[in-house]
């Protein structure tokens, strides 16, 4: 049973307004489709401007989609009315990247965590306090912290508080929007382990949005790579990481700095910048920066669609022939996260 089915999600931002000239729309999300099963982590990977954060927020209806569909637990999210949407919100939550702005500085930790419980009337009186204490413990924090304010805590602790807040309403699905990007290395590891444990204990599904492929590898069952608002490659974590087919995925993999000086790797350094999402190139959006030896004028004319090539689905006309530079994508043991 699929938990979430997203089809042809589009989110365009109109620039300009009532008194300003409008420019071309910013095509933040330009036709994204994927499925998510219960207990599974799908990683949405890409660099800034690729639209990955917009996908997460639009599915949760924190902003309205331009078009498309998202069916969650059998219900079309985009046609829910306000009351039904509020009820459904219990089942889908989000944790944010910036631990310093994701908590209301004027609310105690306990109130922040209890907010969902209060809004949905999940408990009353002393029971609320008990639940808050249990949640704090579950994320590895001292329940006594409930009376303190966010500024007294470190980034990693704040992230945990944010996770506790999301768990309070007992969701089935959590959008993790770059949850560890702003954290130090050792803290990052703590939070990743926590997320893995929670997934195992509560059967949660994650849409894990990130730009760091090594981080993603810790939690992802499947990976979707985004570029300029579209998914350009998608498959199991193992296939995408060991035998990528889209030239952008290959470039991304080769650019990740690895803590291993002995490892020989030829790096693919892309030229130029990511084009603006309001002016995507014609044909294949990646073609101006593409290094594929088979790239030709067809790429600037005809937009490739996602199709199965080898072990992944890739949107490239020449995906069958994508070379794999030395040191990139070699098999490295099982990629199915083992949470021992």
């Amino acid at each position: 049973m699929t938990l979430l089915q997203v089809r042809d999600l589009v989110k365009h931002y109109q620039s300009g307004g009532l008194f300003r000239a409008s420019g071309p729309p910013v095509r933040a999300v330009d036709g994204v489709s994927f499925d998510l099963a219960p207990g599974e982590t799908l990683a949405l990977v890409g660099e800034s401007g690729c639209g990955k954060s917009s996908v997460g927020r639009t599915i949760l209806r924190l902003q309205d989609p331009t078009s498309g569909s998202a069916v969650f637990e059998g219900v079309e999210l985009f046609s829910l009315d306000r009351t039904a949407l509020r009820r459904t919100r219990r089942r889908m939550q989000i944790i944010f990247q910036d631990p310093y702005s994701s908590l209301n500085p004027r609310m105690t930790v306990g109130s922040a965590v209890a907010e969902g419980i209060e809004i949905h009337r999940l408990a009353r009186g002393a029971e609320v306090g008990r639940r808050v204490a249990a949640l704090l413990q579950e994320v590895g924090l001292d329940p006594g912290y409930a009376d303190r304010y966010p500024h007294e805590f470190s980034g990693g602790q704040r992230q945990r508080i944010g996770i506790a807040r999301a768990l309070a309403v007992e969701p089935a699905f959590i959008v993790c929007d770059e949850p560890v990007s702003a954290l130090d290395v050792s803290v990052q590891a703590q939070v990743l382990n926590l997320l893995a444990d929670l997934q195992r204990d509560r059967g949660l599904s994650y849409l894990f949005i990130a730009h760091d492929l090594a981080v993603v590898r810790q939690l992802a069952h499947r990976i979707a790579v985004m570029y300029l608002g579209r998914i350009v490659e998608e498959g199991t974590a193992e296939s995408v990481l060991t035998r990528p087919r889209h030239p952008y995925t290959v470039a991304l993999l080769s650019a990740v700095p690895e803590p291993d000086p002995g490892r020989r790797r030829s790096r693919i350094v892309l030229t130029g910048d990511v084009p603006s999402p309001s002016a995507p190139p014609p044909g294949c959006p990646f073609h101006p920066r593409c290094w594929h030896p088979s790239r030709n004028e067809r790429c600037s004319r005809e937009r490739p669609t996602l199709r199965m090539v080898g072990g992944t689905r890739a949107a490239c006309h020449y995906a069958e022939e994508t070379p794999l530079p030395e040191g990139v994508g070699e098999p490295g043991g099982t990629s199915t996260p083992s949470i021992a």
Partner: protein, 325 residues
């Protein structure tokens, strides 16, 4: 051989409200030779950024560099310089690039103006000559269409471009040393690769020494000749890069390595360092890593000095005394 840069016993203190002072940088020593890259690795609170600011005497008040610290640039005592003499080494002998290219560039000046400003601050050239030099620098850092970019404003450029502009500004007076404080942290990984490539190329062509400040072990592996790991205001391990990665010896370094997720090798549960980084106002007594160290023992209650493990490999840990293979 005189080192291009030598830092000895650098100590930076800040006042603590109501109770004396705290020492976020507490006795740091290292040296840098011509053409080499030294990476200063650490997490937040390790003191690495403050250390780099001290080199240019840019420590923000009320912090101050304490007596007993020495910073020598060639044969110039940086801490003894005043006024004009100090200004002359900033940019001319040590250049610096910062983490966030968005806020490090002046939004109301064009790129060309900012680079020329850097040039003319140190070289006696005319406006026209400075502009020519700015153009040349833009080419060197790999900015496409540099002629039109000279008149662009920072907000018209992408993050990667802005960082290149910052590098151009830092290089404008041909410094001997480039201090790069987390130069690629705010950038996408593909752009990061480009920028690191530019830095490498320029280092080779200009013969500069580079002090690279970062928390990313991957960048260190690829680009640094030597590494110094910082924790709680001190250097806890230093070695040549291959040696450090082959044999990380200080328990903190080992903890760092165990908590970094990898692209290759088996995927297993990460093993983070338990606990949190202590704040400078509350450094633990004795070995500062002791509360979090899985190998702490009775001697850890005394602060260890940097002890040798191998030639060119030292660590601040009593375990160096026992023969560890």
């Amino acid at each position: 051989m005189t080192h291009v840069l030598e830092v000895k016993d650098l100590r930076i203190s800040f006042p603590v409200e109501g109770a004396g002072r705290m020492y976020p940088v507490d006795g740091v020593s290292f040296s840098l030779d011509r053409g080499e890259t030294l990476a200063l690795v650490g997490e937040s609170g390790s003191g690495k950024s403050l250390t780099s600011l001290a080199l240019l005497r840019l420590v923000p008040p009320p912090g101050r560099i304490d007596a007993g610290s020495t910073i020598t640039l060639g044969d110039t005592d940086v801490l003894g310089l005043q006024g004009e003499a100090l200004r002359r080494i900033r940019g001319k002998r040590i250049g610096m690039i910062f983490q966030d290219p968005m806020t490090s560039l002046n939004p109301v000046l064009t790129v060309g103006d900012q680079i020329s400003e850097g040039v003319r601050a140190h070289l006696p050239v005319s406006r026209r000559e400075a502009r020519d030099r700015a153009l040349h620098l833009l080419q060197e850092v790999g900015i496409p269409d540099p002629v039109s970019r000279l008149d662009a404003y920072p907000h018209q450029l992408s993050g990667g471009m802005r960082q290149r502009v910052m590098i151009a500004i830092a290089l404008s007076a041909e410094p001997e040393i480039l201090v790069a404080d987390e130069p690629t942290t705010a950038l996408d990984v593909t752009v990061q690769a480009q920028i690191l490539e530019v830095l490498d190329r320029l280092r080779a062509s200009h013969g500069m020494a580079v002090l690279l400040i970062t928390h990313d072990l991957g960048i260190v592996a690829g680009r640094a000749d030597r590494v110094a790991v910082m924790y709680a205001g001190q250097i806890v391990e230093e070695a040549r890069t291959p040696a450090l990665f082959a044999r990380p010896s200080h328990p903190y370094t080992q903890g760092l390595f165990a908590s970094v997720p990898r692209l290759h090798g088996p995927v297993g549960r990460l093993r983070p360092i338990r606990g949190n980084v202590p704040p400078p106002s509350a450094w633990p007594s004795g070995c500062r890593f002791r509360p979090r160290c899985p190998q702490a023992f009775d001697k850890s209650e005394t602060m260890p000095p940097l002890l040798p493990l191998d030639p060119e490999h030292r660590m601040r840990c009593w375990l160096a005394e026992t023969d560890r293979s």
